[in-house]
């Protein structure tokens, strides 16, 4: 074999951005694990190589197994992952296992343009600037305008609509996707006295969740009127099939599915007045990433204005930068005023468990 490429040990936190870029060019390669947007990454990688001469390899895997891999490699001095996308499922594991390097917030120059909220909180976790926002997303109600002329906007309308249209409203089991979690989250807000009381908690406070029973009872009463689907995508597919007419969905996911021809283009989306949660996906660099400098440069590149615009135009995701607007999104900025933030992650986990016990397991 050839001579091993010698890599000096360094700490990007202690380097200037120019030094990092220089180091990155020396490294010449970066490996990024994602689980969507293959086509988009391919384009980005071409541009990146043109700009920096660094080859970016994006492995489009599976969210859970990406994390399993990261966990499995955590013990090694040098891993194989430079950059990882972090979504709803991963944040908790990332923290529990102490997987990631950071904080990145002060290393990546572009972070000052990015969504402030997402830089600090993700899915109810306090992320302290470890993860760099990639795009923002938002859950909303999607409906088939042919069959639903006046979708429910207020809480009263919503309850009435469900009564009058049994088995036509659906959201996915919160165990299997974020849009379902968002719906239950909203129900808790609506039926168990708002979200303010949970702020800042790191552990579930029993007294605060006492009146969640209202939520479970509300759901149980409507068990034969609401359909629980098995994934974010399943909800969309079932709307296309004509089985469901009103669903909870992610804005970017829905847009993507429309592009792929999975669902009819006429679908409409909005956020009801009683609110639905949103958030976004981020980038992180594992502690044992072999090319940390290249990773930082790649992340910075992806959060440049041009690339964020390309992302928005290409896959329809809402940009993480505040200085550009999403072009093709389903939800207008007007709609987004009803967006609400997640409550702390400990409650989210508790919510999912309770949903399983109280709603799914009840016969």
């Amino acid at each position: 074999g050839g001579k091993e490429k010698k890599e000096a040990s360094y700490d990007i936190a202690a380097m200037s951005w120019d030094e990092i870029v220089e180091q990155a060019k020396k490294e010449g390669t970066v490996t990024h694990y994602a689980w969507y947007w293959k086509e988009h990454w391919d384009k980005m990688a071409v541009d990146f190589e043109k700009a920096y001469g660094i080859k970016a390899t994006v492995v489009v895997g599976d969210e859970t197994s990406n994390f399993n891999k990261a966990v499995a490699e955590a013990k090694l001095a040098k891993g194989t992952i430079d950059v990882m996308n972090i979504g709803g499922k991963g944040v908790k594991i990332a923290f529990d296992e102490n997987l990631f390097y950071g904080p990145l917030k002060d290393i990546i120059p572009n972070s000052k343009y990015l969504d402030k909220n997402l830089l600090q909180f993700q899915e109810g976790f306090v992320t302290k600037g470890y993860f760099i926002p990639q795009h923002r997303n938002q859950t909303g109600f999607a409906y088939n305008p042919d069959k639903v002329k006046n979708p429910p906007r207020t809480w009263a309308e919503f309850e009435k609509w469900i009564d009058e249209h049994p088995k036509q409203f659906g959201f996915n089991d919160p165990n299997k996707g974020g849009s379902g979690q968002s719906m239950v989250h909203t129900l808790i807000k609506q039926l168990a006295g708002g979200l303010e009381k949970y702020e800042g908690d790191v552990d579930v406070v029993e007294s605060k969740v006492a009146d969640w029973d209202n939520v479970w009872n509300w759901l149980k009463e409507r068990k034969d009127k609401i359909v629980f689907t098995s994934s974010n995508a399943d909800s969309i597919v079932r709307m296309n099939d004509g089985e469901l007419d009103l669903i909870v969905a992610w804005d970017d996911d829905l847009l993507n599915k429309m592009k792929q021809g999975v669902i009819f283009d006429k679908v409409k989306m909005y956020i009801p007045e009683f609110g639905l949660a949103g958030g976004g996906d981020t980038f992180g660099i594992p502690n044992n990433a072999p090319h940390k400098a290249a990773a930082a440069v790649w992340i910075n590149f992806l959060t440049d204005q041009a690339q964020q615009q390309a992302m928005s135009d290409g896959v329809g995701a809402y940009p993480a930068r505040d200085d550009i607007k999403g072009t093709k999104t389903n939800l207008t900025t007007e709609d987004r005023k009803y967006a609400i933030p997640w409550f702390p992650a400990c409650y989210k986990k508790y919510m999912i468990e309770q949903f399983t016990k109280q709603v799914l397991m009840s016969k």
Partner: protein
Amino acid sequence: MKRSRLTDYILLLPAFIYVSLFLSFTLFMMISQSFGLFSLLGETEGFTLQYWKSAMIQESFDSFFYSMKIGLVSSTLVVVIAYPIALILNQEIRGARIVGSLIKIPYFINAMVAAFLIINIIAYHGFLNQFLMFLGFIDEPLRMRNDDFGTGVIVIQVWKNIPFALLIITASIAGVSKDVIDAAKDLRAGPVRIFFSIYLPLTISGAVTAHILLFIMIFGDFAIYSVAGPIYPQSLTARMQLIVSNFLQWEEASVLATVLIISVIVVASTLTFISKKYIGIYEKVGYAEIKKD
């Protein structure tokens, strides 16, 4: 002579060592981890029953009963359906071979593909609903996916596994010499008697083998459940996978795996016992016993 003995044993080793090393590691780790021992990655705590306690919650029981139910119902259905088909295919009917090949197709279709194909059929907008509506039996499509009982899963398992059962059962039925059946007919045995006193005792061991293997495959199913199973409960293996990948609770997963393997052993021995009893009726009653009464 001695030297060739030794070479024999050396030649015997490759596959044997391969399998036994892997599996003994697997089983050893599984069982010891369920008691908190020998954790390969995390730190080892020493013998404890804690994980058995914490794994034994309602969700686990529900998963266990779900898998057991699907396993027993589907494997029994498969065998019950495959048996007569095998008997018919065994006749010298013209075209039996074509049917035989046709019928084998699902065996060569991946489990998930099978699940997906059937889902397309039973989906809300699927073939079956459209067909029934076209015929006017229903006004509005039926919702058959992800039903709570697992009917969808059972349909898929049956569809997918009939060929496997057929493969084994046809082989054992083909082993019954045609002359023997002719001889029974010639001795004026009716079809029912031929089935119960000739075919069944001669082929039951094949059928039970098929039944056991099917039970194991269906009981340990992950793929079909994930594609077509009910929202709740999860299949036992799906729950294990979830516990591991979402919560990294290897010890609890080990408990479930141990339970799963013990159940497999129990069910397999029960089925074998029943079949032995049945063959016994025909094997044991001989002249000696007749003389007694």
